[in-house]
């Protein structure tokens, strides 16, 4: 026993910058103003940061690629803050609204692979003395080194109701999940293409319903979202009339896939893919589902003790984490779905709509 420990320590010393030894940390938010860093395998809360002027809470969380900073949407969606994950200092702040315009960052945000640019969806409304004027949706691009009081360096046109923004791994594209997944040029916002969801052409299937606001591709670089569709050739009373499927987008290769995996029998809020067994995806809400996305089948489903909105997977694929909604992160074995433990959010604060992100450092 002792020898093994020593050997490990020696190895660790020899390879101080080795990514293989980097540890998995989870990031989540808790009401009203906490950003919570969790040492996943140690099952313990490593640090709790208090974010200034958070309003009612923290929504989307986007870690920098080096895992040293996290950007969060907060303040009733009207601000973005960057928090140094070592010191807890606010190192970046963009307050989006101004006197004549109220701007809400509705869910979607991502960072360029080089960590230099932050993309934030904006849903603006002009506030005139006696009326509101809704403005086109747009993407504000920030320089992450702009510090406090950051202003956008570029503003790009964006499809309305964009719920997730995803930067391609090589930085050449920006994907926007709206009615379809729009492929945008991150420099100009020009539409380069589209992966069809609402405009898919599947005979006898309705347009799918998708509501996904969850960036959970940390371990794989593959975005995934559940969708719901109806067979237009079957009576609604037919048990096969409603189908649940999984849409996936590989942020490295750009490959986009959809696969139906069950006749709808549970609501799934969000999903994530296993980096060790990439055909396996997990879906969460009141139940936890294991999906074979190659075969298009449901492999396993268990009841959860309460509702969880978010799920993310350890970088070795061995376990998964469910969070959001209430005040704990649950841990499950990806092979057996055995509950391995949980991490309580300090103070019993609810996570509500906060993202659950995985970083390594």
């Amino acid at each position: 026993m002792r020898r093994i420990t020593l050997a490990c320590t020696a190895l660790a010393l020899a390879m101080t910058v080795a990514p293989a030894l980097a540890k998995d940390y989870l990031l989540t938010g808790a009401k009203p103003d906490k950003l919570v860093l969790i040492d996943a395998k140690a099952r313990k809360v490593e640090q709790v940061f208090t974010v200034p002027d958070a309003g009612t809470g923290i929504f989307t969380i986007t870690p920098a690629p080096d895992g040293r900073t996290a950007y969060v949407i907060l303040n009733q969606w009207e601000s973005v803050a960057g928090i140094d994950l070592t010191t807890g200092q606010q190192v970046f702040r963009a307050d989006l609204s101004s006197a004549g315009e109220r701007v809400k960052a509705t869910f979607a945000m991502d960072i360029s692979p080089d960590g230099k640019e932050l993309f934030v969806i904006e849903s603006p409304v002009k506030l005139l003395p006696d009326q509101y004027q809704v403005q086109p949706a747009r993407i504000a691009v920030f320089d992450t080194s702009a510090g406090i009081g950051a202003k956008p360096v570029r503003v790009l046109p964006a499809p309305r109701r964009t719920a997730v923004l995803m930067a391609a791994k090589d930085g050449s594209k920006l994907y926007a999940l709206s009615w379809d997944i729009y492929v945008l040029d991150p420099k100009t916002g020009a539409e380069l293409g589209r992966h069809p969801l609402r405009t898919w052409q599947r005979a006898n299937f309705s347009a799918p319903d998708v509501l996904d606001v969850w960036p959970q591709w940390d371990a794989t670089g593959i975005f995934s979202t559940p969708y719901y569709t109806a067979r237009t050739d079957l009576d609604a009373s037919n048990p096969d009339a409603f189908k649940t499927g999984l849409a996936t987008l590989d942020l490295a290769s750009g490959e986009f896939q959809t696969v139906d995996f069950e006749s709808t029998s549970a609501i799934i809020f969000s999903s994530a893919i296993n980096p060790a067994r990439p055909t396996e995806a997990y879906g969460v809400y009141t139940t936890l589902s294991k999906i074979d996305r190659a075969k298009g089948s449901l492999l396993q489903r268990i009841e959860l003790d309460h509702t969880y909105y978010t799920v993310n997977v350890a970088s070795d694929g061995s376990e998964l984490y469910v969070g959001g909604t209430m005040d704990d992160v649950g841990i499950y074995d990806t092979a057996t779905f055995e509950r391995l433990g949980e991490i309580a959010i300090p103070g019993g604060a609810d996570q509500v709509l906060a993202s659950l992100r995985l970083i390594q450092r």
Partner: protein
Amino acid sequence: MRKSWLLPCLIAGLWLAAPAAEAAQDEGPLLAERCGSCHQTTSGNGLTRIDEQRKTPEAWDMTLVRMVQFHGVELSDDERARLVKHLADRQGLAPSETDGFRYILERQPGVIESPPDAELATLCARCHSYARIALQRRTEDEWRKLAHFHLGQFPTAEYQALGRDRNWWEIASEQAPGQLAELFPLKSEAWDRWQQRPAAALAGDWRFVGHHPGRGGYHGTMTLAATGDDRYDLKLQLTYDDGETASGQGAGILYTGYEWRGRSEVGSTTSLQVMALAEDGTTMTGRSFLADQDAVGGQLTMTRLDASPQILAVTPGYVRAGEGRKLAIQGVGLAGDVDLGPGVTVDNVLSADDQTIVVHVQAAADAALGGRSVKVGTIAADQALVVYDRIDRLSVEPPYTIARVGGAGGAVPPVAAQFEAIAWQNGADGAPGTADDLRIGALPARWSTDNFDATAVALKDAAHAGSMQAGGLFMPSGAGPNPARPFETNNAGNLKVLAAVDDAGREVTGEGQLIVTVQRWNDPPIR
């Protein structure tokens, strides 16, 4: 957090007492002072936005409350009341423009709307009623500005279910305004005509008849005394069909020349009246309900005591062939003999004056089944009495409704549900549920609840969600998690509502559905 329409301040604005004024006040200066800093004066000497719409007193009150809550306008209760009156009088709806949608003003429970335009209803009536929309009149531009307000104030509207499956914003801001302006235009002949009407004067004595589900009918007299500017003090005497009598007092306001909003205190009970005055000024119809439980209430009709003779109600409105029973006829100017048609004879007049006649009647075993007129002297009420010989089925009304958990230390009290059992006889075709079925009327029933489906069985909804009381009143349980339930879930539930009556030794039963759900934190005057 901003204040919201919690139950205690529910619809309060319309019943706020304002100082009595001799004549109609012109609140133009107050409007200009409180609103003019943001709403510019127009070329027609009005104020932007405010001039471009017409709506009910409740809707004006909601807008004023929004100006206070969202835009920091300062209004005292008195100013709020005066402005609602001013705006509703000058920019209200004609009576005919409220036809078919008064249920939302009357706060009728369990109404399932059937909007004429399904697409528009999906676009606009998923957060609130379709009636909220149909009770407004605007220019196209104003309907568009309203769409801008919606997404500007609720940016997630286009992300929610039934928002994200369509280009919600594009449709709401580009297509819908034109369509709405056509359906519900600012200018209308009905309104032009209504504005020419002579002022209504309500002072004097009114005879009323009403129905309180679970309790039965009541009737009485209300005396209105003018206190100025369409405001009245009221005094009332009432008698329930079960013989109990009571008296009370209160006040009311007439908006827009026909929208009566009254409030009465009888004992410790406060009731609200939402009524419309008919064009001839002699009759008001609407609903009365408990101020703190608006699901508990029923239809109410009032007629001036000096109106032309008429029958207002016959209670109960049924008699069984081959049996005798007591009937009461309520009305004004009643005089002469009671004639119930062939086969139903009056065998004793128990009491008679010009407002109430109580008779004992005998229905022959072979009396014709169905509805028939009731005549008193020269006046008649059509279909006022039903002769039946068998109860074939019971329906529960409302057939589907919701109650809400509450109380238990929380800010929002529980919301009860009130049911009634309606007896029916199959018509000549012998089949239930067909057009010739005979509606006999409301009967006292034995009430209970059961689990609606397998999920409800598993969660023991019937045991936890609340209790059914005599008279068909369902009181939901307390709010919050219940440690006795799986997942410590709250006391929500999905219940069958069961009614049973005896008919000549047979038990006849009926079933409705009740969803017991969580509190409504925000309960505006127009849902």
